[in-house]
């Protein structure tokens, strides 16, 4: 495979050389380099593909969380005035002149609503302010601009509005991260915590982490005994039972979500069963769908194979003799389990819990369909801002925070388990 294989040793004590006289060291280094390049070339097409269709799009999307040129592009005069002046009070005529002229252009280019929306992210009421002013801006033909604009709408004299516009004058912004972290700029431009009733994202992150941890814990509790059973049964039984783990794994996610809806909704199979048996009254039907319960139950079902499979592959390798030896040396069943068996399965527990947690934290489909409003996770909020409120900067900021967390967990997974040890089926 390599030229080094054709090496001929020079037997007279001088440096070893190959047949054509190059030193052996050089020839070997060249051969290794060639082998490295060959390996790299095999990987290169895929690497390029993943970078183009995955890494670059995500990078570009995340850039939106710090870059929003809507205001600075469409209000150029005012932006340049704001960039060169300190706004500590409502500014004077020069700024209002720039504002009026920019609004006229924005009205002509039909961009005034966009600009208003950008300011509205940080100060509510700005969208209608920009729209209504732009509609009447033609009436203002000359100075004094400040007086006339204030006469059109007294909100233009609000200092908070001006500090927001001053920050928006630069296309680079930290506003979206501030909002994603439940922080806000007060009227004078200092960062403070958002008022209690508007701290939604912190709560949402907390809920996402809590529910993911709960799902991972439930999967571990349900999956550990099953994996143990599968690993210890004779192969012909365990293969059969394994099908019951793999079939859900291979069944479409939407199918499984649909089945949980049919099973758990208030007119569904489970409630009907409980009512007909007489455990529940007809008016006491359990609300198991379209709330946190729905998310937790359906996701535990979906994640369970991701817990059982790594646990099983680790338990398969644990020698049965160890527990027997512990028992014969006098350990009780509990001690033998806790001190001998459990420690040997820790790699499987780590792999399963981390995998389930990582996947749950970013889950979107199931919570969106069965979570109601109390079972929504952070991904659902990202989708909401992407598709409905169209606040892409905030969606990107929330996405960046989520991605940061997932990468951290992924790094931990690689450290503890190793990505190349991941097993499927």
């Amino acid at each position: 495979m390599t030229t080094a294989a054709e090496t001929v040793a020079a037997g007279d004590g001088g440096p070893l050389t190959t047949g054509d006289g190059t030193p052996l060291k050089t020839a070997l280094a060249r051969a290794t380099r060639r082998a490295r390049i060959k390996a790299l070339l095999l990987v290169a097409p895929l690497l390029l593909f993943v970078i183009v269709t995955f890494a670059v799009p995500i990078g570009q999307m995340l850039y939106l969380s710090v870059y929003n040129p809507v205001f600075s592009d469409n209000m150029p005069r005012l932006s340049s005035w704001l960039r060169s002046h300190e706004v500590s009070d409502v500014p004077g005529e020069a700024a209002f002149e720039a504002l009026a002229l920019d609004l006229k252009d924005a009205r002509k280019n039909r961009t005034h609503a966009q600009v208003g929306t950008r300011i509205n992210y940080e100060r509510s009421g700005a969208t209608s302010l920009f729209k209504s002013t732009a509609r009447k801006i033609k009436k203002i033909k000359g100075p004094p601009y400040k007086e006339q604009l204030l006469a059109l709408n007294s909100e233009w004299g609000d200092l908070h509005l001006w500090t927001v516009m001053a920050r928006a004058a630069s296309p680079h912004t930290s506003a979206f991260y501030a909002q994603a972290l439940d922080l806000t700029y007060d009227a004078t431009g200092n960062i403070t915590r958002a008022p209690e009733n508007r701290r939604i994202y912190g709560l949402l992150f907390q809920r996402t982490l809590f529910l993911s941890a709960l799902i991972a814990a439930l999967c571990l509790i349900l999956g550990y005994p099953v994996a143990h059973l599968l690993a210890n049964l004779p192969l012909k039984y365990s293969n059969l039972l394994m099908v019951m783990v793999l079939l859900p794994f291979w069944t479409s996610l939407l199918v499984r979500t649909t089945s949980w809806i049919t099973l758990l909704q208030s007119q569904g199979v489970l409630n009907d069963l409980l009512v007909s048996v007489g455990i529940l009254g007809d008016d006491g039907r359990l609300e198991l769908m379209y709330n946190q319960w729905g998310t937790v139950i359906a996701m535990t079902h979906i994640m369970l194979p991701f817990m059982i499979l790594p646990l099983y592959s680790v338990m398969k390798t644990v020698p049965k003799d160890f527990v027997r030896a512990a028992r014969s040396l006098g350990a009780g069943p509990v001690t033998a389990f806790l001190r001998v068996y459990l420690p040997q399965t820790v790699p499987g527990i780590g792999a399963g819990v981390l995998l389930v947690f990582i996947i749950s934290v970013g889950y979107y489909i199931t919570p969106a369909l069965v979570g109601g409003s109390s079972g929504q996770l952070i991904s659902n909020q990202i989708a909401f801002h992407m598709l409905q409120s169209l606040n892409w900067g905030l969606a990107a900021a929330l996405g960046a925070l989520l991605l940061g967390g997932v990468i951290l967990l992924y790094w931990l997974y690689d450290r503890l388990v190793g990505v190349d040890n991941m097993k499927l089926g």
Partner: protein, 302 residues
């Protein structure tokens, strides 16, 4: 694995509890999938068992939801079922349209993912591969990064690149999502691969391409096929990217189901789900046969 005769009372009870618990978990795993099948034959538009169904009265069952699956979206669903009717179904039925899309997108993205993934796995499993761990982590990451983030990234990227609402865009995205599975399964197969076979082939005068075709590929084929199956299922089941970058023309089965669940949930969904369950049983069987074949090959080669 029965209990030894010296087992204590406590151990016997404990073992019963343990088996009962496991049975409960298996029920939890499989019941939601089983229960949907009879419900799809419901004669009434309900999601629960009617009295007639429980009494096993034939009137309680019908194929109406399967029929609806076929006719939904057709221009003349009530016409006589002749050749023209079937042509109408093939051209206009929404579920058939979605199924055609799902298969076309699934197969194309699987081909891309399998070709690129197998090639890369060959490189990654060479001992000389530099930055192996980092490259591997990057290539597996599409599986780990939340789908919503990949989808939003593609949403912006595709609208700039003119790939939004195109088949190519979705095929590329699905190929990207399927790649980690191909990498994982193929590298796993290669880890048990005897590299001296390559040297033997080379020393007997085979070119690298011949060695790949005649020696490497036949041995890793089961891994490649199961990776391809994973990639296909990933694409076949994917809804978030489709939701973000597809238009009506590229509607797939999962998207059709998603819309069905969100908007007008009817037992038609259950009929579709039943067909998908049969499909996944077929896939699982294929995979199991492949696994047995690998084991047999491994067993023969020593």
């Amino acid at each position: 694995m029965s209990m030894p005769p010296h087992a204590t009372m406590f151990e016997r009870i404990w073992r019963r509890l343990y088996l009962a618990f496991c049975a409960g978990v298996f029920l939890f795993l499989i019941a939601p999938i089983i229960v949907i099948v009879p419900l799809s034959f419901n004669a009434e538009p309900y999601f629960t068992f009617t009295r007639d169904m429980l009494a096993l009265d034939p009137d309680g069952f019908s194929l109406r939801w399967y029929d609806r699956l076929l006719t939904y979206g057709m221009t003349a669903p009530d016409a006589i079922r002749d050749g023209a009717w079937w042509a109408d179904a093939w051209a206009n039925s929404q579920w058939i349209h979605a199924a055609k899309n799902s298969f076309a997108i699934g197969i194309s993205s699987t081909l891309i993912a399998t070709a690129l993934g197998t090639l890369a796995a060959l490189g990654l499993s060479r001992p000389e591969m530099p930055f192996r761990r980092a490259v591997m982590a990057l290539l597996i990451s599409p599986m780990i990064v939340p789908m919503i983030i990949s989808a939003t990234g593609l949403f912006f990227f595709y609208s700039k690149a003119g790939l939004a609402h195109t088949y190519i865009g979705i095929v590329l995205a699905h190929a990207m999502l399927g790649i980690p599975f191909v990498i994982i399964t193929v590298t796993a197969t290669l880890s048990g691969f005897d590299r001296s076979l390559i040297h033997a082939a080379a020393s007997l005068g085979a070119s690298p391409v011949t060695t790949f075709r005649k020696v490497i590929l036949p041995l890793i084929l089961p891994g490649v096929i199961s990776g391809a199956l994973f990639a296909f299922v990933t694409s076949f089941d994917e809804v978030v990217v489709v939701l973000f970058v597809a238009s009506y023309d590229q509607q797939t089965i999962p998207l059709q189901m998603w819309n069905g669940i969100r908007e007008q949930i009817s037992p038609t969904i259950l009929a579709a789900a039943t067909i998908l369950i049969l499909f996944s049983i077929a896939l699982l069987t294929t995979l199991e046969l492949l696994r047995r074949r690998t084991e047999r090959l491994r067993g023969l080669s020593g």
